[in-house]
Amino acid sequence: MGAVIEARGLSKSFGTFRALDNVSFSAAAGRIVGLIGPNGAGKTTALRAILGLTNYEGELKVLELDPYAQRDRLMQEVCFIADVAVLPGWLRVQQAVDYVAGVHPRFRPEQAEQFLSRTSIKRTSRVRELSKGMITQLHLALVMAIDAKLLVLDEPTIGLDILYRKQFYESLLSEYFDHERTILITTHQVEEVENILTDVLFIDRGRIVLDSSMEEVAEKYLQLTVNPDRVAAAREFKPFYEREIFGRTVMFFKDGAADGLRKLGDARTPSVADLFVAKIKGAAA
């Protein structure tokens, strides 16, 4: 199967501010891609372009469709939760289910019922009567009952307590994800999604700073924690970022699989969060 998302030279400006600056990337079917970046990096703009919520310059195809011009057709194949707590307060739970069932040909009401039955949400409640966590649960129940090819989640677990967050990602993997579906996630809680991602896309100041599969990350990047006496020797291998922690120096290397290097300290594959900080700060230095 071809690329689910294909962006070439994607740009979007607000006045003189370039929220997306000539960005190119693609996401293949069956991947779980984490779009990671600091606030204001262009994550939301990129997601909105992909979802047909904003116009843009450059070329963008999502499932072979032009998102802005064909949003309604695209939404038959794509579902998204862009920010939490956007269900309107006046809507009743049952009305939400009925509405989605009425407009979405790929919605399976019995699936939504099954998700909802695991919560304490009453069908007759209005959204404004639910807690923030319950609203998110309702939204997820609606979205996960849609048999879509691409699922886009923007900060899906904000407002959920820790127990439900874990459960959410577990059910996402075990019940929703199969190898034909693609999931695009942005989150601040990188640690939480780290072990379910197959690909990462780092974005900073409107540009892609890393586009890589997790296997490639493990092959290419090395995090080395070095004692003070070995720091000079390790620097010979040209780390792209380093920082001090408890008197030791943590160094990040690209293409640094050299055996000599590994012997200088404690070597490991960097976590996505650490690699992200290293990439952003390393590029700024």
Binding site: T54, N55, R71, D72, A82, V86, P88, G102, V103, H104
Partner: protein
């Protein structure tokens, strides 16, 4: 797949005032007719029932049945204006537009559904509410009046089929004429609702007022003001031949009552539908609605 019935239902979920407002009007009217004080001077009821007034019984009854529509029309007017201003604005304000846009409903369908509610569903509901009120109103009224004047056959005056037909045909015709005539106003309200980031009411009202003011200051003319005035009241003289109606004004108790009695004979669809002003308005309305759809496509937070 045709989403329109569900989209219209959605509007009723959100706007319970569609049902509450006419229910309040109905309650007030029915309480009034049930418990209100009845008094007739100079045996006017007897007079009305007498043979020389036979031809006016129809007029009186058509008038009463038509007047009942007024409070409903006024309440519908307010409902429609506030509904349309809210329709493409409220969900941007509470950000639920992100949820609605995550579903396979086009922005064109969304905007059209709001227009369908305002221009077709609410007027039809108003018509139905008036009809139901008139039936209850007349039933209660006949009961009360027949105990008041037993020798007069109230029932035959109140339940004249020709009066009932006239009053309700006139109402239906007026609703159609009004809605077509007001389409550019409805379109303007939709456009403001899709565009404004705050203070929708001010954005709806101030630009036209500003243009009128500028025209007055710069050119000392008032074409825009006349244009807008015509847009609010012009339908009546086009759709209804008021000269024909005036001939049927009636005199009762020495007072001249400017009765709408035989307005049904005065409806003038030929003049109305052949008026270039009507069709020009519809073209302008189409332009406003098209712009509203374009703006709706572009997601913007308030």
């Amino acid at each position: 797949m045709n989403h329109m019935p569900l989209l219209v239902r959605r509007e009723f979920w959100e706007h319970r005032s569609f049902v509450i407002a006419p229910a309040i009007v109905a309650a007030i009217l029915l309480i009034g007719v049930t418990f209100g004080h009845v008094e007739f001077g100079n045996n006017s009821l007897d007079k009305l029932a007498s043979p020389e007034f036979a031809s006016k019984q129809y007029s009186v009854m058509t008038g009463i049945l038509s007047v009942v529509a007024l409070p409903y029309l006024i309440s519908m007017g307010f409902l429609t204006v506030f509904y349309l201003l809210d329709s493409l604005y409220a969900d941007r304000k509470d950000r639920s537009v992100l949820f609605w846009k995550s579903l396979p409903v086009s922005d064109r369908e969304t905007v059209i559904s709001k227009l369908v509610v305002a221009a077709i569903v609410l007027p039809l509901m108003t018509f139905a509410a008036v009809l139901v009120t008139n039936v209850l109103f007349s039933f209660i009224g006949s009961l009360r009046l027949s105990s008041y004047a037993e020798h007069v056959n109230i029932w035959s005056i109140v339940w004249q089929p020709s009066a009932w037909f006239s009053a309700h045909a006139l109402l239906l015709y007026s609703l159609v004429a009004m809605m077509l005539w007001y389409l550019p106003i409805l379109g303007w309200l939709l456009l403001v609702s899709a565009w404004a980031r705050r203070a929708v009411i001010l954005w709806a009202v101030l630009p036209p007022l500003a243009i009128i003011f500028l025209e007055h200051v710069l050119f000392e003319t008032s074409y825009v003001a006349h244009l807008l005035k015509d847009r609010f009241i012009g339908w009546f003289h086009l759709a209804i031949n008021t000269n024909a109606a005036a001939e049927h004004a009636m005199v009762l108790d020495g007072e001249r009552i400017p009765m709408t009695g035989r307005l049904i004979d005065a409806i003038d669809p030929a003049t109305f539908f052949s008026s270039p002003r009507l069709w020009l308005g519809i073209v302008v309305a189409a332009g406003f609605i098209w712009l509203a759809i374009l703006l709706r496509r572009r997601y913007s937070e308030t």
